[in-house]
């Protein structure tokens, strides 16, 4: 699990919301998962600061929370960027070379799959089949779909979102 280097920008409102959720679950057995899910809804991810609030408020050791956060794929420790770059690793895209496209995106942005750039602008994720196999390999940036991708197209496309 990659832990983000993007500075934490949680607001007072978000914290109040989280504290409210924790209060609702007070004394409840098995409350950790719903609290963590709510926290991820509120903040978009589960950075140290958020896990610390959960730990301090519930008395659950932070290592336990971190263990759960790193076990389940549904939890992320990295925020989403302003622009989400999604590379399809479905079968068709993959055999057409989307692995190389992903590598090029990672090189261009200097981050790995699942991470967010330090300026908060781009994050990378991978997906399985977006239903556009005819265009394979496919990359999606901020909702815009780019088909028949080759690695040398990556830099130019990303530049449009600077």
């Amino acid at each position: 699990m990659k832990v983000s280097t993007v500075p934490f920008n949680g607001t007072k409102e978000q914290e109040a919301k989280l504290l409210e959720v924790i209060k609702e679950h007070k004394g409840e057995k098995g409350a950790l998962m719903p609290i963590m899910q709510a926290a991820q809804d509120i903040y978009g991810y589960l950075p140290y600061q958020v896990q610390k609030i959960i730990s301090d408020e519930t008395g659950i050791p932070i290592e336990k929370i971190y263990g759960v956060a790193t076990f389940y794929a549904q939890f992320s420790m990295s925020p989403k960027g302003k622009y989400v770059v999604s590379v399809c690793l479905g079968t068709a895209c993959y055999v057409k070379g989307s692995g190389n496209v992903l590598e090029e995106v990672e090189d261009c942005l200097g981050i790995k799959d699942g991470e967010c750039t330090a300026d908060g602008k781009f994050s990378i994720e991978t997906c399985r089949c977006v239903g556009a196999c005819g265009l394979a390999p496919v990359m999606i940036v901020d909702g815009d779909v780019y088909g028949k991708m080759t690695p040398d197209m990556v830099a130019g496309i990303l530049a449009k979102y600077e």
């Binding site: 140290y48 050791p61 971190y66 790193t70």
Partner: protein, 586 residues
């Protein structure tokens, strides 16, 4: 509960309903192999080494948690089972650092023993990817090498269930799983209290103490250094075990002889400074009681407990006795009183302690533990490290003739030696406090304060001392300490004096004691047996009250003045700091 009859490998035994297959088999004289199972601490049936066949059951069962039923027929030793166990072992060693020869746990490794038992050799691994982990050496006490970790989670169970500290756990998933701390924090950056119960729980070499053997050997071999040694009470109750001496036999005399053969210039005894601690602490207790000081007074001998208090109960720091631990008092006196008496430069003295404890390694480096401008104690070894030194030196420990300890810091009373068992410090303090408060000694036949003895996690007692009602409590294991202190905090309980030891059962079961394999630990009262060795030493000591220690009396007469004097305060007392939990902000 009703008794039931079960037949295991054609042997029929009667056991109470609910008994696990593992325990029923043990009763039938059959040792089912286990690896992840630690009674009461880690019962997660994860490793699958203990799988057995139960007639009529849908699948193989994990014997460690499987409850027997009346008339049940089980098989623990079939070709199919042993083949499964072999496969499981092969899978484990496929992602295990197999550099066994110089591993700290070579010949004392549960994985190695199982591989031997089932004929799995070093070349039986499945070729494929292997995890590579950086070794965490950040802690002053504990080293974690996950390349040897088999993910049994026994350390996790010990940290959480014995100690309620829970700074380690399983992170990530599948092949990426590793045992570590939140956000990849180094152990030193967490609220780990250095107790070392994780090391004692580890079946393999993934956890061990920060080794100070080489540094101590170098000091001994340096002609410019004057190296003195002090073994803690509990060391004599455990050191025999690595040399084949049965558990619970004290080896006080052999230990003195071995330390002398290792080349220490003086062989002293921490029992001396344990008695000294009692004089200071009893004085402090009486002062607090008579002047309206902060009560309950809580003992401060256990550095694991101290750090726990600083992290989790910072509001109770004023309750902690300001007395240094016996280890530190010893060093402070050695580098002042002893140095001056002998005319030796304190800078030349190297003070080595041997402790049943890993937290003592952290304690020597704490602030305000250098009363003479030099560290009170230079190196703290565990009982295990001393055993390794004795083995390396080729000393035939089991056959050594008994020797005594050197003057002027080698004398200890029966009150001092029981420091190693939970309740022992309390008992020793009571023996002296009664004398100090009433002016009359507890009669010889009433010196055993039995209410505070025994291995229960929390003990309570009330005593009438003169006109005073003294309510005391004793807790060992930090989960028990937490429970007790929460009751004190809420006002539910009121005590005058509390003894807390970090390790369950006290120092005899400390994280620096010889490793006891789970096959023994799961069926043996380790704490009780080792504690018995100490209580026997106490019973057989002609002096059983700390204030009767002639060497300590002499120290006060010649050097310190009275207990609690300014000089005593300067040398023998210390301060504490508030610490955060989950602190690693940046």
């Amino acid at each position: 509960m009703a008794d039931i009859r079960v037949t295991i490998d054609n042997i029929t035994v009667t056991v109470p309903e609910g008994t696990t297959l593992l325990d029923a088999a043990h009763k039938a004289g059959i040792e089912i192999p286990t690896l992840c199972y630690l009674r009461g601490i880690n019962e997660i049936a994860a490793c699958r080494i203990c799988v057995c066949e139960v007639e009529g059951a849908r699948a193989l069962v994990a014997a460690c948690v499987y409850p027997c039923t009346d008339g049940m027929v089980a098989h623990t030793n079939t070709p199919k089972l042993n083949d499964y166990r072999r496969k499981t072992l092969q899978l484990i060693i496929s992602d295990h650092n197999m550099d066994c020869l110089a591993c700290v746990r070579n010949n004392n490794c549960e994985l190695q023993d199982l591989c031997e038992r089932y004929g799995v050799t070093q070349s039986d691994y499945y070729a494929g990817k292997k995890n590579e982990f950086a070794i965490d050496e950040s802690s002053a006490s504990i080293v974690r090498d996950n390349n040897k970790c088999i993910l049994c989670r026994r350390c996790v169970g010990a940290c959480e269930n014995y100690q309620s500290v829970a700074v380690i756990g399983a992170n990530e998933r599948g092949f990426d799983t590793y045992i570590g701390s939140a956000f990849g924090m180094n152990l030193a950056d967490t609220s780990c209290v250095n107790c070392g119960q994780c090391i004692s729980a580890c079946p393999v070499g993934a956890l061990h103490e920060q080794d100070a053997v080489k540094a101590v050997q170098a000091a001994i071999n340096d002609p410019d250094k004057y190296v003195i040694v002090q073994p803690a009470p509990s060391v004599r109750a455990g050191l025999g075990e690595p040399f084949g001496i049965p558990m619970g036999v004290d080896v006080e005399g052999k230990m003195a002889a071995a330390l002398r053969r290792l080349g220490f210039d003086k062989v002293f005894d921490t029992n001396f400074s344990a008695d000294l601690t009692i004089l200071e602490e009893a004085t402090e207790l009486i002062q607090r009681v008579t002047t309206g000081g902060t009560l309950p007074l809580i003992t401060s001998c256990s550095p694991g407990w101290i750090k726990f208090c600083e992290h989790y109960f910072p509001d109770m720091i004023p309750n902690l006795s300001s007395c240094k631990s016996p280890q530190q008092m010893f060093g402070a006196v050695a580098k002042s009183y002893f140095a001056e008496k002998m005319g030796i430069d304190k800078e030349k003295i190297v003070c080595v302690s041997v402790m049943p404890c890993t937290a003592k390694k952290f304690e020597v480096g704490r602030d305000d533990q250098d009363a003479n401008g030099v560290p009170d104690v230079d190196y703290s070894l565990t009982t295990r490290e001393l055993a390794r030194m004795i083995k390396e030196a080729g000393i035939d420990f089991a056959n050594l003739a008994d020797e005594g300890y050197d003057d002027p810091m080698g004398e200890g009373t029966g009150a001092a030696v029981i420091f190693g068992a939970t309740g022992g410090v309390m008992e020793a303090a009571l023996r002296t406090a009664v004398y100090k408060i009433t002016g009359t000694d507890v009669p010889d036949d009433a010196l055993d304060f039995v209410d505070v003895r025994g291995t229960e996690g929390i003990k309570e007692a009330s005593y009438k001392v003169g006109d005073l009602d003294v309510n005391v409590a004793v807790a060992s294991g930090l989960a028990n300490a937490r429970k007790l202190l929460e009751m004190v905090r809420s006002g539910e309980k009121n005590y005058t004096f509390i003894e807390i030891m970090a390790c369950p059962g006290g120092c005899v079961n400390g994280g620096g004691q010889p490793i006891v394999p789970s096959s023994v630990k799961n069926f043996t009262d380790v704490r009780g047996l080792r504690a018995k060795a100490l209580y026997n030493l106490d019973a057989n000591n002609p002096k059983r009250r700390s204030h009767d220690n002639e060497s300590v009396k002499k120290l006060y007469a010649e050097y310190l003045g009275e207990p609690g004097s300014e000089k005593a305060h300067h040398l023998l007392h210390t301060t504490y700091v508030e610490r955060l939990v989950n602190q690693n902000e940046e």
